[in-house]
Amino acid sequence: MVKVTIDGVEVSVEPGTTILNAARQIGGDVVPPAMCYYSKLPGTGGKCRTCLVEVAAGSAADPRPMPKLVASCSTPVQDGMVVNNKSSQRVHDNRGGVVEFLLANHPLDCPICDQAGECHLQDLGYEHGSAKTRYEEDRRIFEPIDIGNKIKLHMNRCILCYRCVYVANQLTDKRVHGVLHRGEHAEISTYIEQAVDNDFSGNMIDVCPVGALTDRTFRFKSRVWFLKPMEAERSCSKCCGKAVVWMFGNEIYRVTARKDQFGEVEEIEQKTAWLCNDCRFEKKEVTDWNVLGPRVINRQSVISQGKYATTIDKPVKRIS
């Protein structure tokens, strides 16, 4: 085990653990935000730069500070490393810069975006952004497109985290979408008109940190904060069948995977609880599911401020 100190809190972690994951073991507000890293998708991370932290001492053996801020999601800890996240003004300033970059070409169309309320970019802007914009230029514009009959792609909102590409590579048998062009013009696309059609393609929606990939079966149906998240399960031959159904009255409006406090799909019995498209898109009747009870939303988010209980004071009751 190696010891690392983050914002003055010491933690012992396995060698090879990244700074971000060490911080997640501590929890609370020493955890840097992560827009592209996704612990369940190997290879992700390093791109968005929101998780930049300051390394005040590289290791016990070589206590020199690192000259540049480092991406905490892809920098392994060393024994005796000292890291500053929320306690560093430099981190604060530069993270604000990253948020400004991410928002520069973002359409800020939250009022008509289905992701609003559970959007990581919204949270990030809320915590680290500025109330004003300095960006006076024309924003780049892409037309929204359907990638298949279940998923809508709003490239304007995309922050190019690449998570959906990793989902297609790691969960589906064939990838038909990817990142095309480069620089400012880089976009997620299928290049030619092509449906992303695969049993597990819907997970792209769950991993998307913004409203770039949204569920067409839920499109404009309701704001997420009007819905009641309920834990539910069903027996499914393709996936674990453990989901959250988002209800209004006695109707299921949408189905998502169960997510943890970092917004990542949860592990259930040591396996990431990815959902199949059948469970996600086709099972919208209450009779399709065994609804277990209210789902706790652990994540600190704009909409969870005062909206959802963060702890359950009574045990989950089975509704049958």
């Binding site: 024309d138 780049r140 514009i141 892409f142 037309e143 497109i145 064939k174 990838r175 038909v176 979408h177 990817g178 990142v179 095309l180 062009h181 480069r182 013009h185 976009e187 696309s189 299928t190 290049y191 030619i192 008109e193």
Partner: protein
């Protein structure tokens, strides 16, 4: 600036000949077994040299040759600026416009070529012979202004040289510099 989904045109046939496929297989053989995807850029260049541009059909055939998904070929082809993803003229003038060339008059030269051929940047002459494009640093900074066309560099350009260059190309006197 508005960007919309690429309109894909499939003009003319871009069916690979046996001879072209053989060249591509040869390019694959330069790399260890299982690493043949490394030949993709060479193969894309070969296809473009044959047809002038890269159609979806061309890229799909390349995907088959390399045994990868078509999206992997699209991803690569759209990343690199040398590849034309839409039909272009027989001769594509790519004029360098980066700093050192600008210092010696590339902006004016681009305007001159456009005027001479009566086309704007990115456009093709009506006879389908010339397309005018701009390029970022081509690595001939001391010999500017310059342009590249079919793997050949034309350097130290002046309006007079452009005039004669266009005539030479029209007469088909200039062969490709490579491939």
């Amino acid at each position: 600036m508005k960007e919309s989904k690429k309109v894909v045109t499939t003009e003319g046939t871009t069916q690979f000949s046996a001879e072209l496929i053989a060249k591509m297989e040869e390019a694959k053989n330069c790399f260890p077994e299982g690493k043949e995807k490394s030949a993709i850029l060479k193969i894309l260049h070969l296809a473009q040299a044959e047809f002038g541009w890269l159609s979806v059909h061309s890229m799909d055939q390349i995907a088959e040759i390399l045994r990868v998904e078509p999206i992997e070929v699209y991803e690569v082809a759209t990343f690199y600026t040398m590849f034309h993803l839409e039909p272009v003229g027989k001769y594509v003038f790519e004029v360098c416009r980066t700093g050192p060339c600008m210092l010696v008059g590339s902006d004016q030269l681009i305007e001159y070529i456009g005027h001479k051929l009566n086309i704007g940047i990115g456009e093709t002459t009506k006879d389908g012979l010339f397309t005018l494009k701009t390029a970022e640093c081509l690595g001939g900074c001391g010999y500017g202004p310059l342009l590249q066309c079919r793997h050949r560099f034309h350097e130290h350009l002046t309006p007079e040289k452009i005039d004669s260059l266009i005539e030479q190309y029209q007469r088909g006197e200039i062969k490709p510099g490579a491939l």
